[in-house]
Symmetry: C2
Subunit: 213 residues, 2 copies
Amino acid sequence: MHPTNRLETAPPARPLRADAARNREALLAAASAEFAAHGADASVADIARRAGIGKGTVFRHFPTKEHLLGAIVLDRLVTISELGEDLLGAGDAGRALLEFLTAACERVQQLDLSFLLAASPAVLAEPAVSAAQERMFGVVGALVARAQEQGAVRADVTGPDVILLMCAPSHAASPLQDSDPGLWRRYLGVLFDGLRPEGAHPLPHPPPAAPVP
Amino acid sequence: MHPTNRLETAPPARPLRADAARNREALLAAASAEFAAHGADASVADIARRAGIGKGTVFRHFPTKEHLLGAIVLDRLVTISELGEDLLGAGDAGRALLEFLTAACERVQQLDLSFLLAASPAVLAEPAVSAAQERMFGVVGALVARAQEQGAVRADVTGPDVILLMCAPSHAASPLQDSDPGLWRRYLGVLFDGLRPEGAHPLPHPPPAAPVP
DNA sequence: ACCTGAACACCGTTCAAGT
DNA sequence: ACCTGAACACCGTTCAAGT
């Protein structure tokens, strides 16, 4: 194993050498573009070529291709968490939750965020990833609780429920993503109606304790 | 290209030689077991070994690993369609649709059926696959229409909507599939409440013309 | 007609050799 | 310290050689 492998968001023990810092930046930019273009199975060789570095250098910065993808998804997690924290101050908590879920689905369209929930334990164990994860879980839990206090969301769903359901609209619409890029909005509408208190029927199974095992 | 490649459900132009028929049966059984155990990325080598045949023989029966997976998912499609057709005679059409979606999610748990909606055009173009697909689309459309006539489902959703949303509960629950195998039932409950007419809000986007491009 | 396994092109990952 | 590209183990797929 390489001694200097660590995730890009972990605070560097000692600053990187100039060329290494430059390479990492180029690597992240190239990976973001390649993943956006070809999905999660963009090849490491293509990413390295686009970044203008050797394949070996990729694995010096990230232990695994999956970790590299994780580092990029992490960015979106932080962005969404920040938005959610802003929305915690909104007057209409139901509207705030819907706005938050809309923003989250927009990010998912760009780069599948849902993989994080199903990601390998190794990636989830990364301190930076699990910190960003917990931050987001906290935000969602608070948004849901406020919406419930105002009677905008049914009382029998939990924060973990909403986290697991968050990506469902994008996933349902994904087969038609190219021909109808806004379809997920329709299914977010259906989901949100299912989260409302009006017409809610008792759910046949208890909620999970946490959204990740 | 091989001259004799065709999907297992297509009626054979002339009957297979005895050893070929035996091999195909062993291949399908082995593939079903390996896919169930290791998911869609079970290796062709492992499947061939389990079936007791050479790797080359796999590609004599199916042009692609994806087509092999397609042949197995096709089985479940047919099973579900048959169940749906039985349920068309039920008195309570809303209950019938819920029962159908429940059965479909149970099958998805066993082997991801949703991949079919996102499958490669080559697999979808297979006559046997597209026939099974259209059969199922017809069944779902009829179940939805009957439920709407009885006022059990909101009027502004369509058959294609329900087809796209069908796998959402299983997908949402998949990160916890091992620790909480029945969780999808909870999210099917949320989804179905979203499909009900009570408390339905107007949807922000028009429905798709067809569930596959 | 059908089966087989060596061979091919590709993949993520490793590591000895360089600066 | 860091970078590099040849090398490795694996993958799906092909095909010449067999029966």
